[in-house]
Symmetry: C5
């Protein structure tokens, strides 16, 4: 899992039907001080996260399909939680 | 998923039969301001994307095989959408 | 596997039920001299590691599910051991 | 898939039997101008590529096993084509 | 596969039973001139490699499980050969 901050969202007219109803958010990975590290990527939102939220992101297809409860979803990266505190 | 820009395409005489009919495009990953970040890679085009388009790319074998509807396709990376707007 | 140092932990109100009872730790990868290298990431703790410990981390979904003895756990990265010495 | 240039080959006395008959080539990833980017890695040659060739490389275990027509081959990265032109 | 040099080994009291009898070695990836590139990582030794050896490393769970002949081993990275020459 990766710690990231939501920095935007993407609108696309050509979207797979399995993505319907999910926002596609842009995630900037952050370190333990919530400072940016590395390159941004996209994740499906499963927890109603918004821009500015610090989130937990899982980046593995099988895990993401399990979370979406859809064994044939072509998805690799989903947001699984909103962070309260980092200690 | 990754946000990228199509910057070229590749022609190869030795190509797997499963790739017939698909363009192999060169993708430059971009950030939320559509600025380049990281290294380019190749993706099969499933949405009629062209050079200059900003696209959604999925980079996982099982997802790519699901999108191509071919459970035995040796493919890891496909373009799944063309981006309208980034917010 | 990766050699890392535990540098913090994350508290999240929205957490998958399969994660209940596990700490989510922030791991800083280190080299053979225990100097930081690369970017931090998150791992589930299966060995009662604490901040400051040097640990062995496995970063593959199937391995992590095997270690958690749960074939449907959406988890990719777990701590599998605490390091005694590096030679 | 990745675009790369063949820059060498590796000879090893201890080699898995499944690798017999395949060259192990060193690949330098390149961008759309065939300039080096990122770190070199190794790939099994399935298309009779040679040093100096620009090649298409797939880097996923399931894809590589499908290309080698061997569902139990411990192989992750294979060369799948020689590039004619980059546009 | 990756070309690497063995630069150390790790001793851990908490170790999975499947790892018993295998050394956990620290691998520094190297380029075709055997110069360091990128970050070190850990691999299980299946070929009796030692510090200073240049080795072939495979970094994929399914491949590693096949090499260890154990379909349920939680292992992602193993050393598969010792390099004789790089051309």
């Amino acid at each position: 899992m990766i710690l990231g901050k939501v920095i935007g969202n993407v609108v696309s007219t050509i979207k797979l039907s399995v993505y319907q109803g999910y926002k596609i958010l842009i995630i900037q990975p952050v370190n333990n001080k919530e400072e940016p590290q590395g390159e941004s990527f996209l994740a499906l939102d499963t927890v109603q996260a918004g821009v500015g939220d610090t989130v937990l992101v899982i980046d593995e297809g099988n895990s993401s399909r399990l979370i979406m409860n859809n064994s044939t979803a072509p998805v690799r990266t989903v947001i699984v939680g909103i962070v309260d505190t980092i200690e």
